[in-house]
Symmetry: C2
Subunit: 656 residues, 2 copies
C-alpha cells in the first residue's frame, strides 16, 4: 500500500492512511476527535477543516459542502485523501478538545495530548464531582464491596492429608465464609500449587460474593495487605467518567473524565447503532472505541495515583444506557432502534477484564448495571438506586435525567414506572447552530436586558465565548420569551429596535455575542430553527412526565421530590426551566440536584453487595412505559410545544 501522511494542526499529530480515506476517519485513526453529530453523513457541517497543503477530492457535491467551501473550509467527512501527503488544520469550532488549554502545559507530548487535553478540560467539573462523591459514596448502604479479601491458613499438605490443592482451598473457604457455590477460574487453578506453598499454605483470597455465588478473583501468597481497588464507570453517550475507589476504606480516591470516543460515529445512540450495524466491522470498531476510552481514563487515574498499579484493580462496575451497555460488551445493538425496540439483553453477564481488553488486572470482574428497556438503561437504574425511590418508605418522587435522551422514573417504594422521551441532544448542543457541550468557553448563564436587549452572560472557566451549552440554552430560551424577542410558539419578533435582531442565512436570528468578544471570530447567534429544536426537546420531557402521571393516575401536585440528574443538573436554573415548560411548576424547594447519579450508583454498587443486589431488584421492578404505544404521549407532546404550554393552568406561577 502506498499510504499518505496526514498531519493535523494545531496539535501536529501525524497519521498514515490509504488514499481514498476520508479526513474524519483519518483523524479518528490519529485519536483526534472532530465533531460529527451526523455521524459523517455530510449533513451537519460541524466537521469543517482547512486544507493547508496537498490535494483532496470531495466524496460528492452538496449544497452544504459548497457553502462551507466558499468560506475556505472542507467537510472532513466528505473529503478524501488523494495521492499527496496532507496538512490539515482543525479549527477550534470543529475540535472536541481545546488544544490551547494543552498549550499551557508545554511538557506534554503530542502522543497523549488528546487524553490529557480532555482531562484538563474537565478538571474543574471533575473536582466538583469528586468532592461531592467523596462525601458519602455509600449513600447509606453498608460497606461490603464486590471484591473483598479473605485470609486463610490452610492445613499443610502431608501424606496423611493429601487432598488436592483446589479442594483444600475451597473447603477452607466454605468453612470461613459459609457459602456453597464457589467458582475458581482455570487461570487461577493453573498457578495455585506454587501460590499455596510460597508461605506455607497461608493465602489471601480476593473474591466476589453475590447472592451466595462466590467468584474467585485472585489467590495470593501470605497474609499481606493485597491492594484492593475498583473502578466505577459512567458510560455516557457523550462523556465517560471513571472513579477510582478504595474498596477497603469505602472511599473515592480520584476521578477522570473524557469524551466518549464513539462520538466520531455520531452524537446520539442511533448514529452509533447505525454505524455498528451497517459499516464493515462496525460493531467491533464502536466496541473497541469505548474500551479505548475507558482505558484512557484508567491510564489517567493510574498516572495520577502512582502507588496503584493496573493489577491492583480487581473489579469494575459500569453504568450506561442500554446502547452503551450493548456496545461496551460487543453485543449487536441492531434491534434497539427497530420497532418494537427490543434490546438483546437487559441483564448482562459478569465478564473478566481480559475478555474485553480492559487495562486492569486481567482476572478482574467487570459488572454492568442491568437495563430496563431499549431506552431506559443501567444509568437510570443506577440513578433510581441513588435516590432511594425504591425504598419502602419513599414518598412519591420523580427522577429526571436529561442527557442525549430524556429518561424519567416516577414512583414510591413498590411501584416505579419509567419512560424515555426522544428529547434529542439539543440540550447537549447538538442541532443548535452554536450549541456545544458544557466545556471551557461555553455560555452557561445569561440575562437579556428587557429594554436594551443587551446580553450579559457567564462562560465556563470564564473563557472567551465559543458557544452555548445546555444550561445556557435554557436560560436563553426563558429570556428570549420574557423579553418578548420570541412569542409563546417560538417565533421571532423581527421588528425589535436592536441590531442584534437580524435576518441570517437560515432566517431570523438574534446575536448573543458579537464576534470581537468571542474566541471563534464569528458572531454567536440563536436562530428560529434552534428555538424550534429546543421547544421539541423541552416538550418531549414535559410530555413524558405528564404521560407517566397519567398512567398511574396521579397529578403533578402529588410529587414530593423531583430529582434532577444528568450532566447539566448542577448548573440548571430551575425557575427558568419551569418558565419554559421543561419542568413542572411545583415549588422550587421540592427540586433536588442530584448530579451524575449514574456514576454515583455505580460507585455504590461496587462498594456494597447490598446496593448491587438492590440495583438488580430495581431493574426488575421498574415498569417500562412505551410512549409510542397509544396517542397519550403524542397529544401531550403537541400541547407542550409552546412556552410554557398550551394549558396555562399547569403553570400557575409562570408569569407571561
Amino acid at each position: 500500500m502506498n499510504n499518505r501522511l496526514v498531519t493535523f494542526l494545531p496539535a501536529g499529530v501525524k497519521v498514515e492512511v490509504e488514499p481514498g480515506t476520508d479526513l474524519l476517519t483519518a483523524a479518528g485513526k490519529a485519536n483526534i476527535e472532530i465533531k460529527a453529530p451526523c455521524g459523517g453523513d455530510g449533513t451537519c457541517g460541524k466537521c469543517a477543516v482547512r486544507i493547508k497543503s496537498g490535494n483532496v477530492k470531495a466524496r460528492r457535491d452538496s449544497h452544504l459542502a459548497t457553502r462551507i467551501a466558499e468560506k475556505g473550509f472542507n467537510l472532513a467527512c466528505q473529503t478524501l485523501v488523494q495521492d499527496e501527503d496532507l496538512v490539515v488544520e482543525i479549527p477550534k469550532t470543529s475540535s472536541m478538545s481545546k488544544h490551547q488549554v494543552l498549550g499551557e502545559n508545554a511538557s506534554v507530548g503530542a502522543g497523549v495530548s488528546d487524553a490529557l487535553s480532555n482531562y484538563l478540560l474537565h478538571v474543574w467539573q471533575l473536582k466538583e464531582l469528586l468532592l461531592e462523591q467523596q462525601k458519602s459514596p455509600l449513600n447509606g448502604y453498608p460497606l461490603n464491596p464486590l471484591c473483598r479479601r479473605v485470609r486463610l491458613t490452610l492445613p499443610v499438605a502431608n501424606l496423611q492429608d493429601n487432598r488436592d490443592d483446589l479442594n483444600r482451598l475451597t473447603m477452607a473457604l466454605k468453612k470461613e465464609i459459609k457459602c456453597t457455590d464457589i467458582h475458581v477460574p482455570l487461570s487461577i487453578i493453573q498457578k495455585l500449587g506454587e501460590i499455596l506453598r510460597v508461605d506455607q499454605f497461608k493465602v489471601t483470597v480476593l473474591l466476589s460474593e453475590v447472592s451466595g455465588k462466590v467468584e474467585i478473583i485472585a489467590v495470593e501468597p501470605g497474609h499481606g495487605h493485597q491492594p484492593l481497588y475498583g473502578i466505577a464507570v459512567d458510560i455516557g453517550t457523550t462523556t465517560v467518567v471513571a472513579y477510582l475507589l478504595d474498596l477497603e476504606k469505602g472511599r473515592v480516591i480520584d476521578t477522570a473524565g473524557t469524551h466518549n470516543r464513539q462520538a466520531r460515529f455520531g452524537d446520539d445512540v442511533i448514529s452509533r447503532i447505525v454505524y455498528a450495524v451497517e459499516e464493515p466491522d462496525g460493531l467491533k470498531t464502536v466496541h473497541q472505541s469505548i474500551i479505548g476510552t475507558i482505558n484512557t481514563l484508567i491510564m489517567d487515574l493510574l498516572v495520577k495515583q502512582r502507588h496503584i498499579k493496573e493489577t491492583d484493580i480487581r473489579v469494575m462496575m459500569t453504568a450506561g444506557n442500554t446502547t452503551m451497555a450493548h456496545l461496551f460488551l460487543g453485543i449487536n445493538p441492531k434491534f434497539i432502534r427497530l420497532e418494537p425496540y427490543i434490546p438483546t439483553a437487559n441483564f448482562y453477564p459478569v465478564v473478566k477484564a481480559q475478555e474485553l481488553g480492559l487495562r486492569v488486572n486481567p482476572d478482574a470482574l467487570v459488572f454492568s448495571y442491568a437495563s430496563v428497556a431499549s431506552y431506559v438503561g443501567g444509568d437510570i437504574v443506577s440513578g433510581t438506586l441513588f435516590t432511594g425511590m425504591g425504598n419502602e418508605d419513599a414518598p412519591i418522587s420523580l427522577l429526571i435525567d436529561i442527557g442525549t435522551n430524556g429518561e424519567m422514573v416516577l414512583g414510591a417504594g413498590d411501584w416505579l414506572v419509567t419512560c424515555s422521551c426522544s428529547a434529542g441532544p439539543a440540550f447537549e448542543g447538538s442541532g443548535i447552530l452554536f450549541g456545544m457541550r458544557a466545556m471551557h468557553g461555553a455560555i452557561e448563564r445569561m440575562q437579556i436586558d428587557p429594554q436594551t436587549y443587551e446580553v450579559a452572560y457567564t462562560t465556563i472557566n470564564n473563557g472567551k465565548a465559543i458557544g452555548i451549552c445546555g444550561s445556557g440554552l435554557i436560560d436563553c430560551l426563558a429570556k428570549l420569551k420574557s423579553t418578548g424577542i420570541i412569542d409563546r410558539a417560538g417565533k421571532f419578533q423581527t421588528s425589535l429596535p436592536t441590531e442584534r435582531m437580524r435576518i441570517g442565512e437560515t432566517g431570523p436570528e438574534f446575536v448573543l455575542v458579537w464576534r470581537e468578544d468571542t474566541d471563534i471570530n464569528r458572531d454567536i447567534v440563536i436562530c428560529e430553527a434552534d428555538v424550534k429544536n429546543l421547544l421539541r426537546a423541552k416538550g418531549a420531557v414535559f410530555a413524558g412526565i405528564r404521560t407517566l402521571l397519567n398512567v398511574v393516575g396521579f397529578e403533578l401536585e402529588s410529587i414530593e421530590n423531583i430529582y434532577v440528574a444528568g450532566g447539566f443538573g448542577n448548573y440548571l436554573n430551575i425557575p427558568d426551566a419551569i418558565a419554559i415548560g421543561l419542568l413542572p411548576d411545583i415549588p422550587v424547594e421540592k427540586y433536588k440536584y442530584v448530579g451524575n447519579t449514574s456514576a454515583k450508583g455505580a460507585c455504590m454498587a461496587l462498594l456494597s453487595q447490598e446496593a448491587w443486589q438492590e440495583a438488580n431488584n430495581l431493574a426488575g421492578k421498574l415498569t417500562y412505559i412505551e410512549l409510542s404505544v397509544g396517542n397519550l404521549f403524542m397529544d401531550e407532546f403537541i400541547s407542550s410545544l409552546f412556552i410554557p404550554h398550551t394549558d396555562l393552568t399547569l403553570f400557575p406561577n409562570v408569569g407571561l
Copy 2:
C-alpha cells in the same frame, strides 16, 4: 539469526534451527518423533541418529555416546547443530513412526506424514477398538448426551411484549426443560438478536445440563437438524486415542489414535513434569504439545468423515492420568512428583474449546474426568465407571490397568480402594534393550522350545521383528523361567547348550531373534538387566494388589472378577502373567479383558449425563491408598521380586 537447515531422512522433512540446537529439539520442531525415554538426558541411548552430511558437536562426552559413536551413530539429544546445514538419518529403531508404512502410500506429502503414518500404524489396533466400542458405547446407561438439542418457538416480540431477547430465550427454556440455573456465554449473547429473528423467533438451543445447571453451547435459527457430534479422548502418557461420537444416535462413528507428542519430553509422567517445571516455557510447550496431538486426531477424524465439520463438534470429554489432565489444562504439575504428592486439582473446570485452542466449535464445552490423587487419575475413574464396580449390587472386583504406571481399584459398590504402584514403563518397552510399544513389527507372543531353546514368535501385523512389546515380554519372561534359562530370581543360566545364550556388552543375554530375521539388522536379545526391570515392574503390581487387599482385610480368593485394562490388556496371555507372578493365581475364567476402559468411560460420559454424574460420584468415592506410607507395600514388593513370589502358597497352580 543465522539459522541452519537440518534435513531429516528418510522422510526428507526440513527445519531451520539456530546453531547450538540439539537434534532431538530440531526433530521436535519438525514434528518428527524420535524415541527419547530418558527425556533427552543422554542416558537411554534410544535416540541414535546418523549424520549424513555437515559437522556437529557433542554436548558432552559419555560412555554411552562413545559406544554409540563407535557404531557410526550420534545421540540426537547430545548432538548440537554447528555452522553448517545438516542431513540426518533417523534409523527405524529410533523413530516412533514407521516410515516404510507410509512409503506404501506415495501420494502422501511430507507435511502430514507424521500424523498419517501414526494413523496408519494404528489402523489394525484402532479397527478393533472401534468395533468393540461401537457394540455398546453406553454400556447400560441411558442415552442422554452432554450436549443436546432443545427446539423452542418463542413468543414474537412486539410493543406489548417487549422483553429483551435473552430473557425471552431463558424464560422459554426454563419452561421447556424445568431448570433454574442457565448460563449463556457472552459470545452467544453478542449475536442473539439476529439469530432469533432469522426464522421468526424459532430457534434450536444446544445445551449441556449437568446437576441442574444448564450451559448454553449454541443458539441457532430455526428448527433444523443442527449437527450434534462429540469427541471423547483418552489421553494416555504414550498413546492418545480419540472417538468421534454421534450424540444423537448414541454411537461411535470413527476413531483415530496417535503417539502422545509429549513423548519427546520423556516417556513417563515424571520426565514430562520435570520438563514442564524446569525448562523455560516448559509448561506451555508441553501443554501445547498435547493440544497439538489432539488437534491432529480431530483433523484425522474429520478428514475421514467429510460430512462432519469442525463446528459440528459441540462437546468433548477427556480422560487421562492426573499429570495428563494437568498438562492438558495447562495446570502446573510440579507438586505431583514431590512428596507428599499433591495434585493441584482433582476436579477440573469445564472450559470452552477456544480457551485451549482445540480445533472444534470454539464454543464447544470440554469436560475432563476427575482424578482421585496424583497417581490415580481420570483414566482409572473412567475405567471404574465402565466396569460397574461402584454399582449397588457389584461383587468384589479388582480393576488393574497396567500402562506406564500400574493402577488398580478394589471394591464392591459402596467401598472402593485404589492405589498406584510405580511399575515403571517396562511393559511399554522402556528400560528394555529391545523393548518397544505395541506397534508394527513388535513381538507379541513367544514360545521357547524347552529342549532346543529355539524361539517361535508372532509379531504385530506379521512384520519382520524389530523389538518386543509388553505382551511379548510377559510371554518371554514366563518362557525363560519355564525352560530354565533364568531362575526364580531372574538370573541367567549361562551354561546352557545353545548359542542363543551368550555374554553380551552388558552381561549374559539370550538371543530371541537372529539378525537376518529382523528388520533392524541386529540380533534381538533379552539381557539380565531387562529381566530385573521386568521383575520390578511385575513385583510392584502384585505388591499393590496385596496391599489393597490387606488394607480392607480380604484375601485373594474373595475377588470375584479381575478386570484387566490398558493398552495391552487385549493381547495379554493371562496364564503367563500368572506364571510370572504379575497377576494373582485365581481361576482364569474370573479374568475379563476390558481393553481401553479410559476411552470407553469417556464415551459413556459424553453420551449420558447419568454416566457423567456417576463418574464424578466415583471420583469422590474412591479411597486412595498411598503406598509410600508405612512398610506394608515395600515388604510385599521385596517378596514379589521372585518368579512367581517368595511365598509359593500364593501361587498353588503355578508349576515350577
